[in-house]
């Protein structure tokens, strides 16, 4: 035994500390020595065959680089795949060096192994990433030729055969003026840019392009890797979104209805032009603040606080900045995102113009009625004048002839027509009297029942069944009960007459009252004789009467006057021989208002 010199000891230690596995083989390929890194990978192997220790084989490998080096004395580097001490596949790089004897013949071979397993795994992962990434990835050389492309690239442009990138991406015949690949070749840096390409079917295609350098060992850029993301769908969406946004803004802004949007804390988020006009303030003064109390009817608070989904007020009023009460129709709608309350939209319609038109229409109706009254009056007077003229003629011709009976006949005609003038004057006074209604809280059903009660017995005696159908739920209304009573009484009296004229044995008259969407509706329905076209057209003409005795021709006119004074309208449906329905409709919002209106 010889003592180990310090130098040998150092050598042995260095041998063991080399991070790559080192093994020394004899010509029979038995392991003579190895270091710790080799043992870490393949386990203890001294005395075993190389193929046993590194590959788990029982015989030599078909082509063994160690044998080749033993034969030709040349070093070589090869990649090998073997099995580690636990039987797992390992990839390693082997650098084989001959150890020469005195005759310069290879006596041993030393093999330095570098484990490539992790590298290989990484390579595989990178390759997968390269292939599967959902954008075009191409490796491009300095001539702008594509030398490699990922799966999507190959699927779209085919296998790269060295074609130019500008031809593939842009259908161009020459390089682009602003080439991101050139930039990366020039400065070795990564760059991002937007490029407009052209698809195979000639459609302009926007790309988001990233370029990165591929560096050689010497630090030179040999290739550029380029990633191109097709932005068509993205840009389409972007355009759709921006179009939708512009459209929405235009719609909201140009809406004739005032639109105000509040957030969940009742602060104003959005105000359109119509809302500025309605409120009388610029949007800058409103946005970000809570609305003034006078602006928002109380009934809308539950929606603004997220306690109710929506409220519609058909007619209400707000006080604008100038302190003016503005009649509005207003809807409040809770805005929810994913079931969560996020705010409220108020949509208000300014009713000032509508109210003015309504008033003008009522005035026009009133004036038309006045016109008809005057025309009817003229007719009545003309008939009386003709009667007077006749009386004068008959009297004077009787006097001329000395015919006393003719004189008497003429005198009677004069008297009768003078009497008619007095009657006419009285009727006109009655018609013009009571210009102002005396309104009070009146139950519509009571008026109906009173009228029916008053006429029922009389009708029954004439073989006519008169009945009431009054909906109990109709709320009281601000009306002149006495005037309404005479309206209905007049219509009932007409209906009874129509039944008598018809000669039917089984005639009915019904007086009804109900309410539909804020409109009070009275109806007098009979199964009497009905009217033909001309009678219907003249029904509301004064002095027009179908009653041979006792009709003044003023009844319906008076009825219509009272109805109009209550803001209502009167219509009739009739079928000759079938009967007639008179319908009086009173929108509650057009009824007379009490002096002190509640807010």
């Amino acid at each position: 035994m010889s003592a180990v010199t310090p130098l040998e000891d150092i050598r042995a230690r260095i041998f063991d500390e080399i991070p790559s596995g080192v093994v020394v083989l004899d010509p029979s390929l038995r392991v003579v020595d190895h270091n710790r890194a080799f043992v870490d990978l393949f386990g203890e192997a001294r005395g075993r065959f190389c193929h046993e220790a590194t590959k788990g084989r029982t015989s030599r490998c078909p082509s063994c680089p160690a044998v080749e080096t033993l034969e030709d004395g040349r070093p070589r580097v090869v990649e090998q795949q073997g099995k580690d001490s636990s039987g797992r596949d390992v990839h390693y790089l082997v650098q084989i060096t001959p150890v020469m004897d005195a005759d310069e013949k290879p006596q041993y071979v030393a093999a330095i192994t570098t484990d490539l397993t992790a590298t290989r795994r990484l390579q595989r992962e990178y390759k997968t990433l390269f292939e599967q990434v959902p954008c075009f990835v191409a490796v491009i050389n300095r001539d702008h030729r594509v030398v490699k492309g990922n799966e999507l690239f190959r699927k779209t442009f085919g296998e790269p055969t060295g074609d130019y990138c500008y031809r593939l991406y842009k259908r161009r015949q020459a390089p682009c003026r602003e080439c991101p690949v050139d930039r990366t070749f020039a400065d070795g840096q990564s760059h991002a840019s937007r490029q407009m390409g052209m698809s195979r079917d000639g459609r302009p295609t926007p790309y988001l392009v990233f370029t990165a350098p591929l560096l050689a060992d010497d630090g030179n850029v040999t290739h550029v890797i380029e990633m191109a993301l097709d932005m068509t769908a993205h840009e389409d969406l972007e355009q759709q979104l921006s179009r939708a946004t512009v459209l929405r803004q235009a719609l909201v802004e140009s809406s004739l209805d005032a639109i105000v949007v509040f957030d969940e804390r009742q602060k104003v988020l959005l105000v359109n032009r119509a809302a500025e006009d309605l409120v009388g303030a610029a949007r800058d003064e409103m946005i970000g603040r809570r609305a003034r109390k006078a602006l928002i009817p109380k009934a809308l608070y539950p929606v603004l606080k997220g306690q109710k989904k929506q409220v519609l007020l058909h007619e209400t009023a707000i006080t604008n900045r100038a302190g003016e009460r503005v009649p509005v129709r207003i809807a409040a709608v809770a805005l929810e995102v994913g079931g969560r309350f996020r705010g409220t939209a108020l949509i208000a319609q300014d009713l000032r113009d509508l109210k003015r038109l309504e008033f003008e229409k009522m005035e026009a109706e009133r004036m038309a009625a006045v016109g008809q009254t005057v025309a009817g009056l003229a007719h009545g007077i003309k008939n009386i004048l003709t009667g007077l003229e006749g009386g004068m003629y008959v009297t004077s011709s009787g006097l001329k002839r000395g015919d006393e009976s003719r004189v008497r006949q003429g005198w009677e005609m004069l008297e009768r027509n003078m009497g008619r003038i007095s009657d006419l004057a009285r009727s006109l006074l009655a018609f013009s009297r009571g210009e102002a209604l005396t309104c009070a809280e009146t139950a519509p059903g009571d008026v109906v029942n009173d009228v029916v009660g008053l006429y029922q017995d009389g009708a029954r005696q004439q073989g006519i069944e008169l009945s009431a159908d009054a909906d109990r739920d109709v709320a009281p209304a601000w009306m002149d009960a006495e005037a309404m009573h005479s309206c209905l009484a007049n219509l009932v009296s007409n209906a009874v007459d129509a039944c008598l004229v018809s000669g039917n044995s089984d005639c009915r008259v019904e007086v009804r009252v109900r309410e539909n969407e804020g409109v009070l509706i009275f109806e007098v329905v009979d199964t009497g004789c009905g009217m033909d076209y001309e009678v219907k057209q003249k029904a509301f003409t004064s002095f027009f009467t179908t009653k041979e005795r006792g009709g003044t021709g003023l009844g319906l006119l008076l009825t219509r006057k009272i109805v109009q004074q209550h803001g209502g309208s009167i219509t009739l449906e009739t079928e000759q021989g079938e009967g007639t329905t008179f319908r009086l409709e009173f929108p509650r919002d057009r009824l007379p208002k009490p002096e002190t209106e509640e807010e």
Partner: protein
């Protein structure tokens, strides 16, 4: 002796619900030599007119129940009265409104004559002379 019988005076039918007007017109026209038949109830007026076979009908446009316009339509459509001129009298309708009224009533022909009330007897006599000729009698 005359070899031809004297031509009878034209027969005028007066249809109006105003009794005094009917009396007045009847007496006045008879005084002027016309023959007159009258109807004051619109429901029976048509029958009376057909039975009388007048040379002209003076009709009030605004009559109860069966209005004058409906009666006018019946007259112009009746085969026996097709050639009988109709003189319409009205206190409500004005001459300029007549075409519209005729149109609304189903496109009735324009009447031979239209007089607005109050009727002046001279006007009526002139119209009758124009359409059925003079009565031949003398006024008293």
């Amino acid at each position: 002796m005359t070899d031809t019988a004297p031509r009878p005076a034209p027969l005028v039918a007066i249809v109006d619900d105003e009794l005094d007007i009917v009396t007045y017109l009847q007496l006045a026209l008879e005084d002027h030599g016309y023959r007159v038949c009258t109807a004051t109830e619109s429901s029976t007026a048509m029958q009376k007119v057909i039975a009388a076979g007048p040379d002209i009908v003076c009709l009030d446009l605004l009559m109860p129940k069966h209005t004058g316009m409906a009666l006018y339509a019946e007259i112009v459509r009746h085969p026996d009265l097709r050639n009988c001129p109709v003189l319409i009298m009205s206190g409500l309708t004005r001459k300029e409104d007549l075409p519209k009224l005729l149109e609304e009533a189903g496109g009735l022909p324009v009447p031979a004559c239209f007089l607005e009330k109050p009727i002046r007897i001279e006007q009526l006599l002139e119209a009758l002379r124009d359409h059925v000729g003079p009565a031949g009698g003398t006024a008293t």
